[in-house]
Amino acid sequence: MGSYLFYFLIYPGFLFAAVIGAFLSWFDRKITARVQFRKGPPVLQPFYDFFKLLLVKETILPARGAKGLFLAAPVFAVFGATMAGVFILLPLINITTGFKGDLIVIFYLLTIPSLCYVIGALASGNPLAAVGASREMKLIMSYELTFLLVLAGIIIKAGQSIDLYQIIQMQQEGTPFIGSISGILLFIVAIFCLQAKLAMVPFDMPEAETEICGGIFIEYSGTPYAMVKLSKYMLLFILPALVIAILMNGIRLEGLGILWAVLKLVAVVLLLTLIRNTNPRVKIKQAIRFFFVWMNLLAIIAIVLAIFGL
């Protein structure tokens, strides 16, 4: 019981994921600044932002909204990110959960934060938040199928195993899945799914600062907004960690393995940041077509190749 609480609250759950995620968020902003020839924020900037929102700022509740739901949504978003983080990170640091089929649960848990943002936005009663929420819902519907196809490709490559621990072990004994044609295709599709799940720039229409003033988060201030930020930090860590687990061999926490783990994580986040910095925001219609037609096509080609063992 005690060790479970430790897993959930400290390592590798809530606290660990939040701290690493905050550093990755700084890395993301720093790279963005360097791409634009700026100097960028200091290392502890995400922590300053979080503690300012948590401790200093006033929380304003919408007068004509569902106040309880508005406040509960960010808490459940953090909860969903923590649960998904525990299920992804435990196999990654070589502790078996003994749970056959956790890949399916991870898929469902990763939907919870986005869904909570939608619920919170609709509970605030703000018209711009409603626009953002409808866009987020369309985005969820377009990328979830693609993400499921990516996981299906991984399951086929792993010989019908839906246990993340076994998938990682299989890669560490043989070659990582990204070392084949279907693996590369699945990696490309997975990176675009991550971009949409994190609501980063080509797919950031739900929050579109310049267009609908923050969209789904427009009414959030103070502590609830700190929770939103926290869940965003955690997602920025656990989603790249999932890609590393299912495609890039997992990590090994001994000797040089630690360096490799850091390098893999930084490389995936760097890729996401560079995509975000070199693309304009697309319209929601274009995003849906992009996922439904092109990414699904790519994922299905990858699955067919995986069935033939390529």
Partner: protein
């Protein structure tokens, strides 16, 4: 200095309210966010919603149409919020001070924490004002 005020000082998020401005101050404010001056070094970013803002930048002369809007924006901001009046029009009214539609400089409507005079103030002057604002509390 306490931990709370240190965090607040290190992460000031800006919201820009332009009154009946000639757009010159707007452009100078945007200059501060460009690579040459880069206020993100100090943890400042421009936010889209007043609910996320810590600093309200007000420029331009405030006329009768702007006054209720400025008041509403100020009341919607989560406290503590700092107000900075930018440019001659924001600080005193400038050449519009005796106009028919002029409704008073910013500090007659809402409390102002820092004044940055100039027509328009140079980005260096805005940065100097920002640094003074960070040293104030």
């Amino acid at each position: 200095m306490s931990f709370k005020s240190y965090c607040f000082k290190k992460s000031l998020w800006l919201f820009h309210f332009g009154g009946a401005s000639c757009n010159n101050c707007d452009i100078e404010i945007l200059d501060c966010l460009t690579p040459r001056y880069d206020v993100e070094r100090f943890g400042m970013i421009l936010v889209g919603s007043i609910r996320h803002a810590d600093v309200l930048l007000v420029n331009g002369s405030i006329n009768k149409k702007d006054k209720p809007r400025l008041l509403e924006i100020y009341e919607q901001a989560p406290k503590p919020v700092l107000v900075v009046a930018i440019g001659a029009c924001g600080c005193t009214g400038g050449i519009f001070a005796e106009g028919n539609t002029f409704a008073g400089p910013v500090d007659k409507i809402i409390p102002v924490d820092a004044y940055i005079p100039g027509c328009p103030p140079k980005p260096e002057a805005i940065l100097a004002g920002v640094v003074k604002l960070m040293g104030k509390n």
